[in-house]
């Protein structure tokens, strides 16, 4: 029996297909503005490997900002619950989940059963972590994927206002003109985002173990800054951006069994 979890995120559509608790297919596609089109494409990608067709899916659960677009889903769930489910399955010891995406960040406290105890989502004024790194990479004239490794070379912390991405940007411009080294600025950018995320996570209290998921978890510079800030080890699943989709797939599996 095949089931799927679909995460219609701000930037990507991600699909996970599982059978008997095992991931057998995944697909990720830039969502663009034609969400339905991207959705079909991502689904197609995910079904390539197991060589199945949409009719073979006995249950589909959708999550993410665009979950309403998945009209063939039997159920929907929020990213908060999806993450809780996924991480409880992957790392049963996890009590705090931090999820950082392109636009939104969230922190979730869960118990040993994966039940959500408390959660926080970044406020309007602290949005845009992902976008911020992108524009800053541009200002520094380096490819986005080099931002992380570059910042690891820095030995110096440059304080920067953290709350708002736009204010932070004007500080970055000042730093550039004050001739700070690129690696120090890259680190300052990551420190600022980490600071913002940590601030939100502290709201719900950091209880170990702590997991980090979402696309930004792939940025080694950010991970380093966040670890330093929170003073905890971070468990990061292999494909951290698929965590919500996986959580949704887990729910789909339960439902399919008649749970």
């Amino acid at each position: 029996m095949y089931v799927a979890g679909i995460d219609c995120g701000a930037k990507y559509v991600k699909v996970i297909i599982i059978r008997n608790g095992e991931i057998i297919g995944r697909g990720s596609v830039l969502s663009g503005f034609d969400v339905k089109g991207s959705l079909n494409e991502a689904l197609k990608k995910a079904m390539e490997q197991p060589k199945i067709s949409a009719e073979d899916l006995s249950y589909v659960v959708a999550t993410g900002t665009g979950k309403g677009e998945v009209d063939f889903a039997q159920a929907t769930m929020t990213e908060v619950t999806a993450n809780a489910k996924a991480l409880n399955f992957l790392f049963p010891s996890v009590r705090t989940v931090i999820d950082v995406g392109a636009e939104e960040g969230r922190a979730i406290r869960i118990n040993e059963l994966g039940k959500v105890i408390d959660f926080a989502i970044n406020e309007k004024c602290a949005a845009g972590a992902g976008t911020f790194t992108e524009t800053m990479a541009r200002a520094l004239e380096i490819p986005l994927e080099e931002m992380g490794p570059l910042s690891l070379k820095s030995q110096k912390s440059v304080p920067m206002n953290a709350q708002c991405a736009v204010f932070a940007e004007s500080e970055v411009v000042s730093l550039i003109h004050a001739k700070h080294a690129k690696e120090d600025i890259a680190r300052a950018v990551h420190d600022a985002i980490a600071d913002r995320i940590a601030s939100m996570a502290r709201k719900i209290g950091i209880e170990r173990d702590v997991a980090l998921v979402g696309g930004v978890a792939r940025n080694v510079g950010f991970v380093d800054s966040l670890k330093r800030d929170l003073q905890v080890e971070l468990l990061i699943p292999e494909q951290p951006e698929f965590s919500c989709a996986f959580g949704a797939a887990l729910l789909a599996a339960e439902r399919a069994k008649g749970g």
């Binding site: 309007k124 004024c125 524009t135 541009r138 708002c164 736009v166 940007e169 411009v173």
Partner: protein, 290 residues
């Protein structure tokens, strides 16, 4: 490689009718802004050549690049220039400049040259900040106001939208009028809010042009708020990169019910031009001419 929609085309210009070797005073201004840099060279106060280029992560290099590009093919070298004034965010990092003067003073002075002495209110929309400047008939600043924090990032915001919509930045103004009727503006407070609103609208099926119109009018609205706080005295002119975006400028004019003066030069060079004019005055001072 992916197309970089956000990038303004670079440009340069030389006045073919001027023989710089006959000039008494050769002065230059270099404006290193947060997004773009310009160099302007004047020969006896007449515009001889200029360049408009992208600012990199290293301001001295950006200054050098702008200067090299302006001088390209003119036969003039740095040593031929009597005085250089630096301006813009990176003004103190212009290695060959003798003095730094703020972009606020330079834009007023440059606008006075570009638009004539009747200019009283200048709106300079740059990459990071937006400034409303009052000046007298000589282009001397009498008052100025900068955007509040929440309205920062005007120029960068346009770039974000160019990317988001995959529309070349220089096309944005024109396209923003290809709509049936003016939509409600998106959030006028903040670039980040505006972007997330725009994504929502696009997913709802709004055509790109309409989203663009909503953003341009939000920007215009935000700028008008700034202008109204300082007051708009005639004549009114717009300088800086976004002056090239008719989608914003026309909407500002519509809201203010005032027509902005028509530019005869590349509006982005106003700062460097003002700096070059100040450089000329400084040479005259040095030579005891004033």
């Amino acid at each position: 490689m992916e197309r970089e929609y956000w990038r303004w085309p670079e440009s340069r210009f030389t006045a073919e009718d001027i023989d710089w070797r006959k000039g008494e005073i050769i002065s230059a201004g270099v404006d290193v802004g947060s997004v773009s840099s310009q160099a302007v060279v004047l020969v006896d106060g007449k515009l001889f050549c200029y360049s408009n280029t992208r600012t990199g992560a290293d301001s001295p290099q950006s200054a050098q690049k702008a200067m090299d590009m302006a001088l390209e093919g003119t036969g003039m070298s740095l040593d031929d220039i009597h005085y250089i004034v630096g301006t813009g965010y990176g003004r103190v990092n212009v290695p060959f400049a003798k003095r730094a003067i703020t972009e606020i003073a330079c834009h007023a002075r440059g606008a006075n040259f570009m638009y004539g002495p009747s200019v009283r209110t200048i709106l300079d929309m740059g990459g990071q900040d937006c400034k409303a400047i009052h000046c007298d008939d000589k282009g001397k600043v009498t008052n100025f106001l900068m955007n509040d924090k929440c309205a920062a990032g005007t120029g960068r915001g346009m770039e974000v939208f160019a990317d988001l919509l995959s529309i070349p930045i220089e096309e944005m103004g024109r396209l923003s009028f290809q709509i049936d009727e003016e939509p409600e503006p998106v959030s006028s407070t903040c670039v980040i809010f505006a972007k997330s609103e725009a994504v929502g609208l696009l997913r709802k099926g709004w055509p790109k042009e309409k989203v663009l119109a909503a953003y341009c009018s939000a920007m215009a609205h935000r700028v008008v708020e700034l202008l109204e706080r300082i007051g708009v005295e005639k004549e009114f002119a717009v300088t800086g990169g976004i002056a090239k975006n008719e989608g914003v400028v026309k909407r500002i004019e519509r809201e203010l019910q005032i027509k902005a003066l028509e530019p005869t030069y590349d509006t982005q060079i106003a700062g460097a031009l003002g700096a070059a004019l100040f450089a000329k005055a400084l040479v005259e001072k040095e030579r005891g001419l004033r």
